[in-house]
């Protein structure tokens, strides 16, 4: 694998860049792998990466029905933060955030992690109280956040309207080391790394069947033939219930469309991410200059990757109220992804009713930020057959036992 660097770029410039090789190999399935991961989204690829890195397991295939990173990983609004309320969540999201800090260097692929700060607005007394609670909890768990006054907020974000007539801003919870990263690059960077050490990434290959022997899975059927495996891990977000069905169990998940949109690019006007939970919308500005906007998820279950226009309306209204200057910008693109929602808005990283099938899903509207941490924890689960400290609270058993990790306060708006 050719190393990426400024020096290499200059050198290649004299060669019309003909010397760059493939970022990842386009592999065909072998007969058998030690571990098969289904789903080449961020979480699947990260799982493969940490399996190789932390446990030396490199006889791995990542199977993808479409193109790598084409699920929610390539459709999200890239907000990264870890100011979660519950201890279990703060632990895994903060692990993830801290891995993001050095991921570009580690992967030798610039994933553009940009800790530009995340501001969560408080627009009702109730929300203010809830954020304070999060703030106190974060402090104890070592997640650096602070409460910010409306005045200070206006200084930090000049385009914000702090005294909107409907929901004046009463304060904000600020996480300075939250931010954004380039979503595609995260997938591509991990793919390049695992491919270089021999893991196979098999795109355009859909898993269509699971062959069980007694209580274990023996092989999977795909559109590129049958493949044997020792262990199998589902990391397919919105499609999780479908795969679980193939394997003969059911999941406590609902799949709904979540949409996002961007404006045409403009020169920099806002340097951080702002989330307005009461009015339901959030916005950041990409490095290209587009205002990246997201809001609420659809109310009905579906797999169509099209959301309803009504949600776009609600989101845009909320954000014009919060940032009146954006009214004259134009919407350039919109898209949707199918997100996998659990009842407590926390993920599932778990063993399953089938002995050697493992599961990573339920990240819903907010799993981009979790990719490295989740991959780390899932790799541990797959390698050992049992969850480590990070993953343990997120088992399927919690739904049976009622041990919910409710983040509906911290995750009131999709992100």
């Amino acid at each position: 694998m050719k190393k990426y660097s400024a020096f290499a770029l200059v050198k290649e410039a004299f060669n019309n860049h003909l010397g760059w090789g493939r970022a990842w190999r386009h592999a065909q399935p072998k007969k058998r792998y030690k571990v098969i991961i289904v789903g080449a989204g961020g979480h699947g690829l990260a799982t493969a990466y940490y399996l190789g890195k932390n446990f030396g397991i490199r006889d791995v295939a990542v199977i993808e029905k479409g193109w790598l990173g084409g699920g929610n990983t390539g459709r999200n609004t890239t907000i990264i933060r870890s100011n979660y309320l519950q201890e279990e969540s703060a632990a895994i999201y903060e692990k993830s955030r801290s891995l993001y800090e050095t991921l570009s260097q580690e992967l030798n692929y610039n994933i553009m992690f940009s800790p530009r700060g995340v501001m969560m607005l408080c627009q009702t007394e109730h929300e203010l109280r809830a954020m304070k609670r999060t703030y106190y909890a974060n402090r104890l768990f070592g997640v650096q956040t602070e409460m910010v006054s409306p005045m200070r907020m206006k200084e930090m974000i000049p385009i914000i309207n702090t005294d909107g007539p409907r929901y004046p801003i009463l304060g904000g919870l600020w996480q300075p080391r939250g931010g954004t990263a380039r979503h595609d690059a995260v997938a591509w960077g991990y793919a390049r790394a695992i491919s270089s050490w021999g893991a196979d990434i098999i795109e355009n290959c859909e898993v269509t069947g699971i062959v069980r022997e007694a209580s274990k899975v023996a092989s999977i059927q795909t559109t590129k033939g049958s493949i044997d495996c020792e262990k199998l891990c589902f990391v397919v977000a919105g499609s999780s219930s479908l795969l679980a069905e193939l394997a003969g169990f059911r999941l406590p998940l609902e799949s709904v469309a979540l949409q996002a949109l961007v404006s045409e690019p403009i020169k920099p006007v806002m340097d951080c991410v702002v989330m307005a939970n009461t009015v339901h919308g959030y916005m950041s500005q990409s490095d290209k200059g587009e205002m990246v906007i997201g809001g609420g998820a659809d109310g009905c279950n579906n797999y169509s990757q099209r959301g309803s226009f009504q949600h776009i309306e609600e989101t845009v209204r909320a954000l014009i109220e919060t940032f009146p200057i954006i009214s004259r910008l134009r919407q350039l693109r919109q898209w949707g992804g199918i997100v996998d929602m659990t009842g407590d808005r926390s993920p599932i990283i778990s063993k399953t009713p089938v002995e050697n099938i493992f599961l990573n899903c339920g990240w819903g509207t907010g799993g981009f930020k979790a990719i490295p941490g989740s991959g780390w924890a899932t790799a541990e689960l797959v390698a050992h057959g049992n969850p480590g400290k990070l993953a343990a609270p997120f088992s399927l058993a919690r739904f049976v036992e009622g041990r919910m990790i409710d983040e509906s306060i911290a995750a009131a708006v999709a992100h």
Binding site: S5, G70, H126, S327, L329, Q331
Partner: protein, 1004 residues
Amino acid sequence: MSTRISKAGRLLDRNKRLSFTFNGRNLFGFQGDTLASALLANDQVLVGRSFKYHRPRGFVSSGVDEPNALMSLGHGGNFEPNRSATTVELVDGIEAVSQNHLGSLDWDLGFINNFFAKIFPAGFYYKTFMKPRFAWKHLFEPIIRNAAGLGRAPSLPDEAAYDYFYAHVDILVIGAGMAGLLATYELAKSGLKVTLVEQKHYLGGYALSDDFEVDGVAVPKWLENIEKKLIDSDNVQIKKNFTAIGVHDHGYLIGCENLEVAEKMGRSSIRHRLWRLRTKQIVLATGAIERPLIFAGNDIPGVMLSSAALDFYKLYGVSPGDRTVVVTNNDSAYLTAINLYNAGLSVPVVIDVREESSGDLFESLRSMGIRIEYGKGIASVLGKKRVKAVELCSLTGEGSVQETIECDSVIMSGGWSSAVHLWSHCGGRLIWNDQLDTFLPDASKSPIDENGEDFIAVVGAASGSFWPSEVVQNVKQIVQKIQKKFKTSKVKSSSISIQEIKYGDSNSKYFTPEGASEKLKSKCFVDFQNDVKLSDLRLATQEGYESVEHLKRYTTLGMATDQGKLSNINGLKYLADFLGREINEVGTTTFRPPYTPISLGSIAGEARKGLFKPVRKTTLHLWHEANGASWEPVGDWRRPYAYLKKNETIEQAVSREVTNTRNALGILDASTLGKIIVSGPDAANFLDLMYTNMISTLQVGRCRYGLMCNENGFLFDDGVVVRLAEETFLCHTTTGGADRVYSWMEEWHQTEWWNKRVFIQNVTEQFTQITIAGPKSRLLLEELGGLDVSRVSLKPLDYLEGELAKIKARVFRISFSGELSFEIAVPSQFGLEFWEKCLETGSQFGISPYGTEALHVMRAEKGFIMIGDETDGTVIPQDLNLGWAVSKKKKDFIGKRAQERIFMNDPNRKTLVGLSLQNSSEKIPDGASVIIGGVDQANDNVIGHVTSTYFSPTLDKPIAMALLKDGKNLLGRSIEIPVDSEKILKAIVSEPKFYDAEGNRQND
């Protein structure tokens, strides 16, 4: 140079001169011009700078696909960045400014990037800027951010107004070219109601620039006649400046009507209007979009699409230049060449990548003596800010120059792409047609409506019918189909005779020369705005980014403001070539709304400022306002937090209100509490399922405090349920929960228990509800006169209906303050009258209104819970010592099964306790974490958090409630509350009841 030509310019009214400015320069145009045509007429060929390399750019197109000519218009609250000049209708006084340059448009410092282009190929930023780590955020990224972006952001809030229109239309025809006009005309003849929409400010489409004849007249004249007939027709509505933005499921269409010109002329107060149309049938007549050819220097100002040049000339009387070289793979550019030639302009050569051509246009060219070079291409266009010459080369070679031909403009045609976007928005599939060299709608997988039938028909160029006679045939068929669908009487379609111009075959070549060297490839632009070159596509595919989506994302191809209208197909062709596969196998990306970018303002419509989530107001709202209310938003409402008297702080007011209510008499507007009537033979039974309590045993005339949990067993709403009659219940909810509980009940009724005979009505706004609380409250009611409210007749949790102060009223004896208290509901129209009577009569008892904060303080003193404070989605009633309200007898209720799970009965669960501070008057911080045994690294000592905290005027000390692990066993113990890194408060755990624990006062 580009200039005005007198004999063309169909859309112009040369009697109306309009003045405008570009970068401060005063210029003139005519009524009917676009900003683009007027600029070009003034020889303003350089109009913008590209995104990445800041290369000088001119007009490429004449329509919505323009990638280069983006400008900022207006000032202050009317400032708008990134408008493409080709879509701006000229009006007097426009002030346009070019964008994305450091320094002037002519001398842009950002052009430096161009010199580094070799080190900055596609995706270069993924390969560098990684060291040192902090440099990305602090150095590289800021540089990139500042260089990127196009126009500046508006600095002031938008001054314009926007609104929505809703309409149901039978048939919507999108696009008023020949096909759309004809289809509308034919459909209207059979009596159907048709709406025809067109994104431009004129009708006629491409045919308006064409030269063939219909029924013996030139096509523009013929189109004009049809337009006239349509205007006269009662069942046809025509909308210009109207873009169909997106097609959604079941025939739901979003359209945006651009009223800017009308607004500027004072004819409209609205800038953009968003239409939401429900259609039974859509007819797509959206035409086709011409593709550029790719060759080195194809981005130099002066190189434009052949169709754009034709439009500029025919519609606006503007020449692209004096000497125009034509390069094409099809005959349509011939038409432009002929027109330019006939206008007296010079056309030194037509470079045709085909081996030969035939047809009428070819014959004309030949007879005019215009030189045609077959099998040739352009090696390179020469010039910097304007085309100077082209270098001719053989198509198949590597681009060795055979001849340099001087010129000041180049027009190109790389074929036509049917505009099929709207077809694919809602699930319609596209297939590539090799012969026509475009994607076409796949009729076998069309978008379907709620009945599973297709609702989009495609006509004209959008369907691949490029020739006029085909259009006529194709429209005829579609019209018949639609007539059948709508069961109208058959009306014979008009017989139309076309004197068609015969075109030769086109080919699918898209770049020249075929063996272009790497050096040439790095000057061949595929996506103009984003500066994506052939060399970038090569690099991306070489690096394995070879799915269409990877290619687009890695190179940013098609991600610019023209949304890839000009670039996507060429990119796809490259990919197919590279992979050696058919375009159909390589696939296209799905088109998504919006078809063209629309203002965010139009999406928000009127819903801004006061109309953004309008405040719900109780009948007493104005009274509160007049009497010093300090407001608090609660759900959609605004409630008085406290009533401020002169020179009073909020804290003082709250304290006064609490004390007055505890000692004398308080009055509260409780109208925002949700009120839901559940009635019917199965009402009792249904409510048994909804609430954790047993509701069916409630007697008529009695009230019961009820709890609602979700499927997970967690408490989400509470309120008093009253049995008004055997089969009628009134369910009170929290203020914020009214709508939620109402839909919750409906959802369960409609989806799970649809066989229960119940009716659910939300009557929240039908009643004004007033709480009279305090030791003197009974005295007041007696004084008001009417109902017997004595201790005997109205016991705690009793309910009576009758008259009070001669007003029909319901009286509930319930208390949320801990005082003797009555809630009185009167029909809303009597709300204010009743309120004022209470105040008047109550003045002798010292009555005073109190707000939500006093209410909360009093409920906390009593240890009553608040949904949202003591609950957070993880709390079951048992945690809040409300186990008594959870029926053990009922077989089922929502949440029952969930509450039986292991963890719900874990002794370690957090339970509600009270906290008081040891010798301190400080308020305990809201939401603070509670620890026991000091802060430790592992946080094992965290046992819970503070849920509510107040200063209690009654007890004259701070009180708080908290949810603590194993709280019951902590009673009397001391815990710690870390406030910041230094300060730790110590508090004592108690029962969460601080005042009148026995309830003597409320039960008096």
